[in-house]
């Protein structure tokens, strides 16, 4: 086992050659970060033209564009350390190699965006808000990551995340504090999201090693910070925050996924697979 010096910083991808174990764990973390943002921005982009009003259509697509940009930056970090081309990593990997949380791959609702979409806006708001807050907690920790290229990316992403979080928090509070159908549907969406939210908060089997190498803080600390950030919001909307979050449909960090992800990959990579050598 490699010894770990807590003050060790890796400033360039080339230095990773001397630290094979560190590199292996870093790659795992980068795939989790990249795949989470990638699949959720894809699900978000399926809402284009279907959001409740035109202002939301503009806002949501802008957020999805930012988020896809964040995924691209993480895939670029993987490319920089020789794992493969960023575009290939995004498009060509089968679901069994993906590390995103299962919650983020779930379809937006019944139907298809081309015909009879019966998407659930309550689910969209809750999933995006809870995820964005988890991402904020992660990014704040990554700003101090021992892998400096990742710490720099985190600083950059954090500035854009500020607006995303503000956006989703506003929707969450307003809809949950409304009466009648809105509140009922939000409560249902919250219960549904919590069933799989453990999958978003986990760092997977290599989580302890990530902490040891100073890449990110522990799953436990990150979870506590998420709960801490959500407490006042849950008090404001008069809902209870559970103490445990489920992983009902499996742990995506271990490559466990649902058919929703296979279908999404088939769709999003359709054009790319027609001619993988094309220059865009």
């Amino acid at each position: 086992m490699e010894g770990r010096d807590p003050t060790m910083k890796i400033t360039k991808p080339e230095e990773l050659q001397q630290h094979p174990e560190y590199k292996e764990v870093l790659v795992e973390l980068l795939f989790q970060l990249a795949d989470d943002d990638f699949i959720l921005s894809y699900r978000g982009s399926e809402w284009l033209g279907l959001a409740p009003h035109i202002e939301e259509d503009i806002a949501f697509s802008s957020i999805n564009q930012d988020t896809m940009g964040h995924a691209a930056m993480y895939y670029q970090l993987l490319e920089d350390i020789g794992i493969g081309k960023a575009d290939d990593l995004a498009h060509q990997r089968p679901s069994s190699e993906r590390r995103n949380a299962v919650l983020l791959e779930e379809v937006n609702g019944p139907g298809h965006y081309l015909s009879e979409p019966r998407y659930d806006w309550a689910f969209a708001v809750v999933r995006h808000y809870f995820y964005t807050q988890a991402k904020k907690v992660r990014i704040d920790s990554l700003k101090h990551s021992s892998y400096e290229p990742l710490a720099q990316v985190a600083v950059k992403i954090n500035m854009e995340l500020y607006y995303h979080l503000m956006h989703w928090r506003t929707w969450f509070i307003q809809l949950t504090n409304a009466q009648g159908e809105a509140r009922e549907r939000m409560k249902k969406a919250v219960a549904k999201v919590f069933e799989d939210f453990g999958g978003v908060l986990t760092l997977g089997v290599k989580g302890d090693r990530m902490v040891e190498f100073g890449l990110i803080e522990s799953e436990k600390i990150l979870k506590q910070r998420w709960v801490q950030a959500m407490k006042p919001v849950f008090a404001e909307v008069n809902l209870d925050l559970p103490s445990e979050f489920g992983m009902k449909r499996g742990n995506g960090r271990n490559g466990e996924h649902t058919a929703d992800l296979d279908e999404a990959i088939m769709t999003l990579s359709e054009v790319y697979r027609l001619d993988p050598l094309a220059t865009w």
Binding site: S62, G69, M73, Q152, K156, I157, M159, E160, M166, H167
Partner: protein, 164 residues
Amino acid sequence: MDSNLAIEKIIETLDAVKDPEIDSVSVIDLGMVEDVQVQHGEVTVKLLPTFIGCPALDIIRQRVEQTLLRLEGIERVTVEFIRHPPWTSDRITEKGREKLKEFGIAPPPRQIDSNGEWHVECPYCHSSFTVIENLFGPTACRSIFYCKQCKNPFEVMKPISTWM
């Protein structure tokens, strides 16, 4: 060519490379140029990306290359997008802020109140009687406002800062 002179000339030339989505401001006005190096006819330009997912970045890269290659004595141009330091909206120059207004976009507010509110002047009539319509606008970097004085909708460049 003396390399100091060359750098001066290159920066002057870069001021002609405009943002493809806001053609009154250049990459210099936006504060995107972090470093320029010249050696034996080879130029390396380090640029800071504004918003990460901005589709204009590749176009900007191409335009910088094409424009500098037209300079005498320049044989190769390399454009690198670097992540550190991060681009922030206070890097936009005074000239850049004026040029944004000419285009009908209010420059990014320099301060945000503790309650999150921005004070923005209408780029058309300069009234401060303005309200936010949508934090998100037609591109990643802009928000939509409305002027209650001259009754025009207008766009504002979003403030982006490391304290966020």
